[in-house]
């Protein structure tokens, strides 16, 4: 686990490139990771040694890039990382003996997930940002409860599917009931909040866990079929979705088309697909080797940011400009290592609940990365969602560190039992 120190020093070096004055910053986060590391050593001594350093590395890359783009946001993000690490430690402490008792509370988790998803719809505290109603706010404090709902949902699904996997495989409607109820509710909530990325993410996690539990490929096929039918249906009735698909298929137009933002005819690249197109330019500009961290072009000549939302949804486009193909590929490889370790944990786990939990958490992590980066790269329609650990956003960082704690707990138990 000394790798943690190595990664931390990379972080210091990176910070140094940007500004020597931020060394104290770097030192502080080094100590923070050291603390997280010690907590992990104490609570989950047998846990996978790669997961925490990878998370640390990703968070460091993210913080560095955010610092480079918006120094003020970097401070807030730093505060959130402190909160996240604290919650990470708390989770490990509370569940260090046996996390499997969570299984007994699965319905509570299921309902919590729905409740969390419903929060933004409530008046007074709900908040709409960029066309999706995903936020709750208490004064200046903003939070996206959906991020935590994801974890609660995975715990529920893992618990329920573990219990019912044999009967689920037989396909009796009675046993599907609670699953479908929770599922339909979640989907309705998503439709109401217009969080398409979230919907895709939850549906993907659901299908993957269902497959692990029942080993019935037919369910996955049926699920995908349903999803396609549903997607076409939603596309037909929702202008918001139609717009996303149009932007995805034809981001550039040769002649002016109606621009709903200004009400005037405009080229689409100057209107709805502005963000996507500018982000693609940013990626393309990176070329093989990139411009170098801090050397990329993120502002216009007048000093305005080129890509709106560069620190949140579009942080990957700035990173791939500054790090180039080599750096971007390395970043994705880091995500792949995380996924590999997560899946390894699921394989080593002894009981069904742990396997489903680890597989669900890991697949959710991978799918979330795919949805946002794939959207940026025009592999799929773009939907706003954070890049795990890297994007600016408190709820995301907190949720991902809790997710990490979950994986460590499963891994600790699996390795300990394997040693016996």
């Amino acid at each position: 686990m000394l790798t943690a120190v190595g990664f931390a020093s990379v972080y210091i070096a990176r910070q140094d490139v940007i500004s020597t004055a931020s060394l104290t910053y770097a030192g502080f986060f080094f100590l923070l990771y050291l603390a997280a590391h010690l907590v992990a050593r104490y609570t989950v001594p047998f846990a996978d040694p790669y997961l925490l350093p990878i998370a640390g590395l990703l968070a460091a890359i993210g913080l560095t890039e955010i610092y480079r783009l918006q120094p003020d946001d970097a401070f807030k993000q730093g505060v959130w990382i402190v909160v996240a690490v604290a919650l990470f430690a708390l989770t490990l402490f509370l569940l260090r003996y046996d996390y499997r008792r969570l299984e007994s509370y699965k319905y509570i988790f299921g309902l919590t997930a729905i409740a969390l998803l419903l929060l933004p719809i409530l008046p007074l505290i709900g908040l709409t940002v960029n066309g999706a109603r995903l936020w709750v706010h208490f004064g200046a404090l903003r939070f996206q409860p959906g991020e935590l709902a994801k974890i609660a949902l995975i715990i529920f699904l893992a618990g329920y599917m573990r219990e019912k996997r044999e009967v689920l495989a037989q396909g009796r409607l009675k046993d599907w009931g609670p699953l479908l109820v929770i599922w339909v509710l979640a989907m309705l909530v998503l439709l109401e909040t217009r969080d398409l990325g979230g919907g895709l993410l939850y549906f993907g996690i659901f299908l993957a866990m269902l497959y692990v539990a029942t080993s019935r490929l037919a369910y996955v096929a049926a699920g995908l079929g349903l999803f396609l039918v549903g997607a076409v249906g939603v596309w037909k009735v929702t202008p918001h979705v139609q717009e996303r698909v149009t932007i995805w298929l034809h981001p550039w137009t040769g002649s002016k088309v109606y621009c709903p933002l200004s009400g005037q005819p405009e080229l689409r690249q100057n209107c709805q697909s502005f963000q996507l197109v500018k982000s693609l330019y940013s990626i393309g500009h990176g070329g093989y080797a990139g411009t170098g961290l801090g050397k990329g072009t993120v502002n216009t000549i007048d000093g305005h940011p080129l890509i709106p939302g560069a620190t949140t949804d579009f942080i990957y486009s700035v990173l791939s400009q500054e790090l180039g193909l080599v750096g971007a590929a390395a970043l994705v490889l880091v995500y792949m290592i995380f996924v590999l370790r997560g899946m390894r944990t699921a394989l080593l786990a002894q009981d069904g609940f742990s396997k489903l939990l680890a597989a669900g958490l890991t697949f959710g992590f991978a799918l979330q990365t795919f949805i946002i980066v794939g959207g940026i790269l025009r592999l799929i329609p773009l939907t706003g969602i954070t890049l795990p650990f890297v994007s600016y956003g408190g709820s995301s960082v907190v949720a991902n560190f809790v997710l990490l704690a979950g994986l460590l707990l499963v891994s600790n138990r699996a390795n300990r039992e394997a040693l016996r």
Binding site: L325, T369, F370
Partner: protein, 490 residues
């Protein structure tokens, strides 16, 4: 269950691997397409992070283009300044954010930004990038002499026209001035002001020296006489009879002067006809040779193709016959073109000052046409010369003997013919005047093409001045040419 976990794991990894493929696509395959997009500001901004190379006049000291450093949002950007203002605007052009580029700033952008493919430059730019230091472009040193350029522009002051001066033996452009012109420093922020002009002819952004199309008038007789002598059909002593007009298509085409009593020379030879620019004689030569032969000699001089020069291709035009604004190459010249009027420079001929300067320089250089060149050398920021001008033989349109006979005729035209205003004491000057009617009463386009010294030419020049009321090539353009030549030779 483990099998399924593995399969889900593989699916997750495939999704992530697709991201690497996608990123690769945009950063390599699609990159060029993205970079060329109009609305791609990154490329534009990135250009301003490069310290462009400086541009100097021939003396290596007079700075024509340099950079001003500005810090914007933590980024150091370099903006262009042109210390000489309008003086070199048409050649150097501009490099701005809102209007992109023109002139050498456009055509030599690669060298100026250090992105040219020379090994030396590639290594240096790459090192600069890796080190994180500012990429610095290569400097250009032009062939244009700042004193000559300034004089040329001063002489054009208050007029519309252009001056092109070449070194006949090498093709070096010694001066290339045009009026009206613009101040390149105003292009970025005050475009309207930059393009405003009090001159009646307008179009200050047009480089009249290379893209201005004018009726050549009698200066085209240099080409007709080339054809006459070079084909061997005529000699300088060939006798003619001039009744004051020539007959074409059954009608009289009169000489210059009062239409009721045109200049009339009766018995004369070709030399005298050239000296006094007698239209009827050239009309008859044209009829004898045929329009095809005359045009083929124009072709040899480079008409009908865009003259080579380092400025962007769209800032130069070809000379030749024009029909409805488009270059017209007749399939059957002997029936489609009036040979008599063609021979003395009318018909639908349109020529550029650069092309006429090239004709004069070719005659001066004993019939060998040199490629006109603007760039003396390109120097790396370290002071190392990357390339330097190498004189390039373009063609030999006429025999040496023809060129020498023409030189003699042009000398006589200055000594005692139409071009006496170009005489310089102690120096033999060869020249040809031209006065083209514009179709509006008494308003002429005036020309003078010349070179000097006639026995050892150091400068060939073409001067055009537009819209001169009762003005002639000999009275308006010739004195300008004389002063420019004198400034170089003295």
């Amino acid at each position: 269950m483990n099998k399924q976990v593995s399969q889900v794991g593989v699916a997750a990894l495939v999704l992530l691997a697709a991201l690497i493929v996608g990123t690769t696509y945009w950063q390599t395959w699609a990159n060029a397409g993205l970079a060329d997009r109009q609305d791609n500001e990154i490329r534009l901004v990135a250009q301003f992070t490069i310290k462009r190379g400086k541009i100097y006049a021939a003396d290596g000291r007079t700075l024509l283009a340099t950079n001003v450093k500005k810090k914007v949002a933590g980024q150091t950007l370099y903006f262009r300044r042109y210390p000489t203002g309008p003086l070199f605007a048409d050649v150097v052009g501009y490099s701005t954010q809102s209007r992109n580029r023109s002139g050498l700033e456009q055509s030599y952008n690669d060298f100026l930004t250090g992105s040219n493919a020379n090994l030396d430059t590639v290594v240096r730019s790459t090192l600069d990038k890796l080190r994180g230091s500012t990429v610095t472009g290569n400097d250009l040193v032009l062939t244009i002499q700042p004193g000559l350029q300034a004089l040329s522009r001063r002489l054009l002051q208050g007029k519309c026209g252009a001056v092109v001066a070449l070194e006949p033996s090498t093709g070096r452009v010694l001066a290339m001035a045009t009026n009206p012109t613009y101040n390149p420093n105003l292009i970025e922020r005050h475009f309207a002001q930059a393009t405003r002009t009090t001159a009646p002819c307008g179009a200050p952004l047009l480089n009249r020296a290379t893209a201005g199309k004018y009726q050549p008038g009698s200066t085209f007789k240099m080409v007709t006489a080339s054809a006459a002598l070079d084909t061997g059909r005529f000699t300088p002593e060939s006798p003619f009879y001039d009744p004051g007009y020539c007959i074409e298509y059954g009608k009289r085409v009169r000489n210059a002067g009062n239409p009721e009593a045109p200049e009339t020379f009766f018995n004369l030879n070709l030399t005298t006809a050239f000296e006094h620019s007698v239209n009827s004689v050239f009309c008859n030569i044209g009829k004898t040779l045929g329009a095809g032969t005359v045009l083929s000699y124009a072709d040899r001089y480079g008409f009908y193709s865009v003259p080579p020069l380092e400025t962007p291709e769209n800032e130069r035009v070809a000379s030749g016959l024009y029909d409805h604004g488009r270059l017209f190459r007749p399939k059957h010249p002997d029936t489609q073109v009036d040979p008599g009027r063609l021979a003395f420079g009318q018909e639908r001929l349109q020529v550029t000052p650069l092309q006429m300067a090239m004709v004069a320089a070719t005659i001066a250089n004993h019939g060998v046409e040199m490629r006109p060149q603007l760039i003396e050398r390109i120097v790396s920021p370290g002071g190392h010369t990357i390339t330097h001008l190498q004189p390039d033989r373009l063609a030999q349109p006429i025999k040496r003997q023809t060129a020498d006979e023409l030189t003699r005729m042009m000398e006589l035209a200055v000594e005692g013919g139409t071009g006496t205003e170009a005489r310089i004491t102690g120096i033999r000057v060869a020249g040809k005047t031209g006065t083209a009617e514009t179709g509006r009463a008494n308003i002429n386009t005036t020309w003078f093409a010349a070179f000097a010294p006639a026995d050892d030419p150091k400068i060939a020049i073409a001067v055009v001045v537009e819209n001169q009321v009762n003005g002639f090539g000999g009275s308006v353009a010739a004195p300008i040419a004389r002063q420019v030549m004198e400034a170089l030779l003295r």
